[in-house]
Structure formats: C-alpha cells, structure tokens
C-alpha cells in the first residue's frame, strides 16, 4: 500500500520535472520535502501539581521543534491515541511527566515511545529552573533526533542576528527558534554582520564607533577586542570551522580585497591576488575551499577558490547580482542571494552552478541566508510582513516560519553545534 503510494508520488514528480525544465530558476527539490518528513505523535506531559510555564508547556515546545526541524511533522493529540497515530503514520510519539519541586525547580521526565508496542525508546530526566525548561526540552528533542536518525539535531543551536534597539543596530543572540533572546552589543553606533567563533566561544562582528567599519571579537560576557587594527576598514567576517581562522574584507584606496587572519596574533595576509573587488567569503564545510563574491565580470557574481587562493572559478552566471554565497554543511549545495528588478531572493545551486532552485518568490525581499549546522534548514531575513524579520525554512524552500517579531531583525547567522555537556 505504502509502496504504491510512493511510486505514484515518484511518477508524479517525474511527470512534473520536464514541464519545469524550460524555466531555469524553478525546479522541484526531491531532498527533504513534505513527502519525506516523519510524522511523530506529541502528547501533553502529565503534570503533578499546578505548573506555571514561563513560555510554553513542554509538548508545545516539542511540537514546534518537530515542525521546524525539517525532519518531522508533529501529530498532536491530547492523549495517547493509537488510531490517530496509525492513521497519520506516526510510528513514535513523545510525552513525559512534569513535577514541581519544593525548591521551585521543575523535574521533567521525557519519553520517546514506539506507538504500536509502547516500547520505551528513549527516556531522559532533567531538573531545571522554570526559565531553563525550554533548554531542557530542546536538549531532549535533539536526543530524539539522534535516536531516530543517528544525526545531530539543531534544537539546541542558536542564532546571532542584528536587531534595531532604540533605533540602533545591535547584535543579539537567541535560541534557534527565536526564544530566549539576549543583547550582546551595547555600543550606540552601528553593530552588524555577526558570525560565530569556532566552538561558539563568542562572536565576531562589525562596529562603526570609529566612523568606519571595523571588526571586533566579543565574548558572551561582553568582553570586546578590536581585530586587525592595522587596516582602516574591515568587514565581511567568515570563521574557518576547523581552525577558527578568519577571512574578511579589507578596504583600502577604494579597493576591497579578502584577507586571511589569525584572531589571536592579529597577523593577516592577502588571500587573493585579483584586480577585482572581493567581499562575502565563506568556507566550505571542511575548509578546503572558499566561496566569495567578485565584481570582476562587471557585476557581483559568486566564485569559488581553493583554500590556498588558487584555481578561481565562477559559479553563478544567471542574472546581474548574485551575492553572499554560503556552502551547505553537507557540502553539496550553495545558497546565495540574487537581486532581480530590485528585489532580493534566495536561491540554491549545485557546486558547479547548475541545478538552480529559487527558494523564495513573491514575498518582499528575502536575503542573508544561513544554513543550520545539520544542513536541513535555512534561516534568512525577509520584509514580507512589512518590516524585516527572521524566518526559517526547509532547504527546499518549504515550511517558512517566522521566528522573530517587533522592531527590525536582520542578518541571521546560525551557530555551530554546541558540544553536549555530559
């Protein structure tokens, strides 16, 4: 039965592809899509004692994690309901117990069960302050992902982005789902372009306190260090995921070029020896290659180059403005922003620039894409709702979810995986 349906879907896809083939920018991605998410039952926790949740009840956090993950589709149910779970093909479900302790803490026992047999597949217990419930539930959810997929989930990862606070762009961080937001910078000039240091030790960002763009490193305790002060104007930071080394743009005499520098020693050398301007460097997942944008062809286009600066090759040819490319953590795709008729939209393509897929369209400007560390999701900024906010979508452009609200939020950068604390 199942197989026949899958065949049908596959046949429908095969039929659909040729009709799209004539239009280069539209295609159907058969990576993850709605067909391939795994349904998972979500049942409210049994509560002992009246518990006042600081944000949401645990099962709502789990359902949100499931739907955002790009791996699952939540099947909510008020109690265990085998008929419903079977109908929706949810082979597993999550639930738990919550107990309010006399010291004000909350004990969460979280379970993953097989729906049919009611076998316990995973059980985790957390005793946390009310404010840390979200963190505990995210942590459990990532264990569920690992149990069922053998891969690390992103529920415990974070985003850094730029938020307009009292009219000033400030760098903030939050959980990947937009909750638990924290302001990191306080300076009253402009703070922008945050990226995560290796091991999420802190951020690197751009600040204008000297009336020009300069790079700074900042810890989450607020300790700031100016970087590469031998240059007048520095921006576009990109952290090497393996060594922590930094690629960044330096502007001197009207020319903008990419340099490679060591944050600890402050030494930096020119990375590329090209006549053109270069911005927006991005490392490949194993730091063997680098993407960047150059105007050498007369318009900004994406290029790739070896980590030693050799073998420059052009990736994008379509359109007149392709910028801010970033390599997927799985290594197989590139996401970038393209401008057409003054509107920004997000596209992905294969490493050789072919197989272009437009992920956003007819919804305002969509820009600054950043991959989740598992490569399943893309966070980006869009003004589709009137002002700029951060959204998350699956890598095929489906399931777009807004995760911020209020005054303008832009320029998200996803953290690396956090090392699990034992």
């Amino acid at each position: 039965m199942n197989k026949i349906k899958l065949l049908f879907v596959f046949a429908a896809l095969m039929l659909a592809v040729p009709s799209f083939a004539a239009i280069d920018t539209i295609a159907v991605d058969v990576g993850i899509s709605v067909f391939q998410t795994m349904p998972i039952g979500v049942v409210p926790f049994e509560e002992e004692g009246k518990i006042k949740w600081t944000s949401e009840a645990p099962h709502l956090i789990l359902a949100r994690d499931a739907n955002l993950s790009g791996r699952f589709e939540a099947v909510p149910s008020d109690q265990f309901d085998l008929v419903l779970f079977s109908k929706k093909r949810a082979r597993q479900y999550v639930t738990g117990n919550a107990t309010k302790l006399s010291n004000g803490k909350i004990k969460l026992d979280c379970y993953l069960y097989a729906a049919e047999t009611k076998d316990l597949l995973l059980g985790e217990s957390y005793t946390v302050k009310p404010y840390d419930v979200r963190q505990a539930v995210h942590s459990f959810f990532d264990k569920v992902v690992y149990r069922l997929f053998g891969e690390r989930g992103v529920a415990t990862t974070k985003l850094a982005y730029v938020s307009k606070i009292d009219g000033t762009k400030q760098v903030v961080i939050s959980d990947y789902d937009g909750f638990s937001r924290r302001q990191i910078t306080r300076d009253s000039s402009i703070n922008m372009m945050p990226v995560w240091q290796k091991n999420n030790k802190g951020l690197v960002y751009v600040n204008f306190r000297n009336q020009r763009p300069n790079l700074y490193a900042i810890t989450f305790g607020g300790k700031e260090t100016p970087l590469f002060t031998q240059f007048k104007q520095t921006f576009s930071p990109a952290v090497n995921p393996k060594t922590g080394e930094l690629l960044f743009s330096v502007t001197d005499g009207g020319k903008t070029e990419i340099y490679r520098g060591d944050m600890k020693t402050g030494s930096a050398q020119k990375f590329l020896h090209l006549k053109s301007n270069q911005v927006s460097p991005s490392w490949s997942p194993f730091a063997s290659e680098v993407l960047f944008t150059s105007d050498r062809g007369g318009s900004p286009q994406v290029y790739a180059v070896g980590k030693d600066g050799s073998d420059v090759r052009r990736i994008t040819y379509m359109g007149h403005y392709n910028e801010r490319a970033s390599w997927s953590p799985e290594g197989d795709r590139i996401v970038y922003t393209s401008m057409d008729d003054g509107k920004m939209n997000i596209y992905t393509c294969a490493l050789d620039g072919t197989d272009i897929i437009q992920l956003t369209s007819n919804a305002g400007n969509n820009e600054h894409p950043t991959w989740s560390p598992d490569g399943k999701l893309i966070a980006f900024a869009s003004d589709r709702g009137g002002n700029y906010q951060i959204y998350i979508m699956r890598k095929d452009g489906s399931s777009v979810t807004r995760i911020t609200s209020g005054t303008e939020n832009t320029s998200p950068t996803w953290s690396w995986f956090f090392d699990e604390k034992k």
């Binding site: 204008f208 763009p213 007048k232 502007t251 009207g254 318009s299």
Partner: protein
Amino acid sequence: MSKIIKFAMMGFALAFFAWGCSKEKPETDPNPKTAEAPADSLLNLDALIADTLSADSLARLEAERLEAERARLEEMINRLMTEDVYFDYDRSDLTENAKRLLAQVAEILVNETRFIVTVEGHTDARGTEDYNISLGARRSTVVRDFLVAYGVDAGRLMAVSYGKERPKVQGSDEAAYSKNRRAHFRVSIANNE
C-alpha cells in the same frame, strides 16, 4: 576665545605705550606690567579710562571680526556638509553634475587649509550589506581622488564607507534611492594652536 583675550591685552599694552609717548616720558619697556605703574597716579585716571575704552572697542571690533570669520567658516562647513555628491545606481564614476560640485568643493578646500574632511560613501538600500560597503568605498575614494587631483592635500582627506547603513532619506522608491546614493562630507577644523 583665548585669542580675543590675547588681543585685548595687546590692546592695553599699545594704549599705554601710546600714552607714555604722548607725555614725552621716555618709556624703555613697553610691557603690559609697566601699565601698573601709571595706574598708581590718580591724576592720570581720566586718560587711563579713555585709553581703556578705546582698547575695549578695539577688542570688540576684533571679536566681531573673529565672529564674522567663524560664521563664514561655519556657513562654508554647513554648505560642504549639505552638498552631497550623487551617483547612478551601482556606479562609482562621477557624473558631470558631480564634477561641477566637486570643483567648487575643491576650491574651498584649497583655500581653507585648516579643513579636514572625511568623505563618506553611501549606497541605496538595494543589495547586500557587504557589497554595498565595497560600493560605498569606491564612491568615497573616487571623490577623494578628484579632490587630490585638484590640489587638495591628500593628508587632509579620508575616505570611508557606510554602505547602506545610514540612508539620508527613508523609503524604497527611486526618489529615496537616488538621494541615498551619495558621497557626504564631514568637516572638522584642524587646531593649529
């Protein structure tokens, strides 16, 4: 301010020197401190008052002259800071209008050697933050190079880029965009004293 005081003191000194000459008393040391000696004599009080008054008016005149000079500089700085150089979309070459304006700016800067100028390059809201910083940098550098070629000392000119971060006009239409694609002058006065 300190200049005014200095000048006023000089005025006093000159006045007393002139007074000394008119009385045909040989005065060897025309220093301000000698002014204290004649002041002891009540007989000379009237003359002293008259002379002080004239020194006062001299100082006032000088203050007015300085004030006028300050106003002139201020006006010139204001003009420099309101007259932006505009660019075409995604371009950093100077239009004919831009060149005419820059020639006037250069004329001012060649004459006013105390002006120190930061040229800010700005872009409209379209495009990425990163690319727009490089575009703004090209714009400010083109302007700086023009002024240097005209004869302005390069040491007094700095070119920086704000990319799309500081729009002059809010909005997402060509009217706003065209006002925001600009090079802006920020002027300060070198302190020579």
